[in-house]
């Protein structure tokens, strides 16, 4: 028997148990963490000039201070991984373009988010995107209204993406869902912090 088992949105977290996690708490981090980030960016070249903060599209409206994030990281302050501010970057790359030391601050923030995610420090809305991806292959799935609209426009009702083939016997949807983005369980305490962001200090 080799039936295609379609993954449902309701039971998605049971399908992907939280196992084999290398990082559970901040204490699990070794100096390798900093070396790993330095390999792909240039945090140790930072001279704290503040060009990143001055160029920041999000920092203009929020408490995000890119310079400070990088300073804390260089000094080994791992609480940056619990700081909601790292999730306020729009990845506009202004800082990346203008940094005189080629620190690549946008990439640093992405690296920090990767490690934060390993600890379960994720916003539930963001996590939901992964659920969509695993069920449909799309971060933004199609709906009835758009299917109708596609027909009116003379396009195929369903685009030829993974989703159209999901029920076929050789569908790759399952492999896709099982092999990619298997995230840690949410860290409830930090989640609360992330969600409070708007109310408390997200906008100043």
């Amino acid at each position: 028997m080799n039936e295609t088992k379609t993954i449902k949105l309701e039971n998605i977290h049971e399908e992907f148990p939280d196992s084999e996690r290398k990082f559970r708490v901040l204490a699990d981090f070794t100096p390798e963490f900093f070396a790993d980030i330095e390999r792909r960016t240039n945090i140790l070249s930072c001279i704290q000039c503040g060009t990143c903060t001055a160029s920041c599209e999000s920092g203009r409206w929020t408490a995000l201070k890119t310079r400070l994030i990088i300073r804390r990281l260089i000094f080994g302050d791992l609480t940056v991984l619990e700081d909601p501010d790292i999730w306020l970057c729009t990845t506009c790359y202004n800082c990346y373009e203008r940094c005189p030391r080629d620190v690549r601050p946008t990439d640093v923030i992405i690296e920090l988010r990767n490690y934060a995610s390993k600890l379960g420090n994720m916003h539930p809305v963001h996590r939901k995107v992964v659920d969509f991806l695993k069920v449909t292959g799309h971060a933004v799935p199609i709906n009835a209204q758009i299917r109708q609209q596609r027909k009116e426009l003379g396009l195929d009702e369903l685009p030829p993406t993974l989703y159209r083939y999901k029920d076929e016997p050789d569908s790759e949807m399952d492999k896709y869902a099982k092999e990619l983005f298997n995230l840690a369980d949410a860290n409830e305490k930090v989640q609360e912090k992330l969600q409070d962001k708007n109310k408390i200090r997200g906008c100043n």
Binding site: L88, H126, V130, H138, P141, Q149, L153, K175, Y176, N198
Partner: protein, 302 residues
Amino acid sequence: MGKDHEFAFYLGCIMPNRYPQIEKATRFVLEKLGYKLLDMEKAACCPAPGVLRSFDKVDWMVAAARNICIAEKLDRDILTVCNGCFGTLQEVNKHLKENEEAREQVNEHLKKLGDYEYKGTIEVKHIGEFLGADIGPTEIQKYLVRKVKGRVTVHYGCHFLKPTRTRQVDSSENPVILDDFAEAIGLVSVDFRQKLTCCGAGGGIKAAYAETSMKILGEKMKNMTAVQPDFILDVCPFCHLQFETGQDWLNKNKGTNYDLPVIHISQITAFCMGMDEQFVGLKYQMMGKDFKFTPVEVESHD
């Protein structure tokens, strides 16, 4: 028709699933230019460079490489109409071409997803770069059956240009590629304050931190409307979505009264190349539903 007149058409998520009119227009434009678009069957999300790259960069690269492999099998360069998809696919493609260690790591993961192996044989192209540079403002004249009169505020979006060392499309501080193209099809590209700022959607901000996202957009809308454009011209369905739903949000929550139509470069180009206005699909959009293009006749050319 050779390989150089064919593309693997990468759809992504927001275009086919929210703005199919952009897909329709893109297909029309490429056909009129004598290009064939091949379907990338079983392609999935690029994946999004904001949320999904933030979760796991390796999985993000693997999923992107899977999409690139589909085009490699077709032996055609990828054409995308979205800055986000361009950001992901172009960056991963370049990174994997240059970095053997990453290529091996990704290929190891790819096996688990099916019959895939990244080889690094194709390029990734954005429609803005294709129309604005490869075809160009001069060559496009041959294909125009009409032009459009109007003042537009051009929105480049971030990932179309940045990081410049990877993209190599145009300057990030003073780009002209889209303005030149807009002028070539009859429009006037109006300068406005802080023209190159972000729409506020990227990095997962739109989904999780609406208030912040809308502050960034609100400033942008204020600066755009100050110069009274007829519509916003963009090159990215995600910026498109932000401008559309964002105007609505600002109207409902901040007491504004915005109703600026948002037009993707494919839509306006298709119209100028003769596509019927109903397929441009403004009636499906949230903003400027009653807006009509003001066509201008062009002199015939042989």
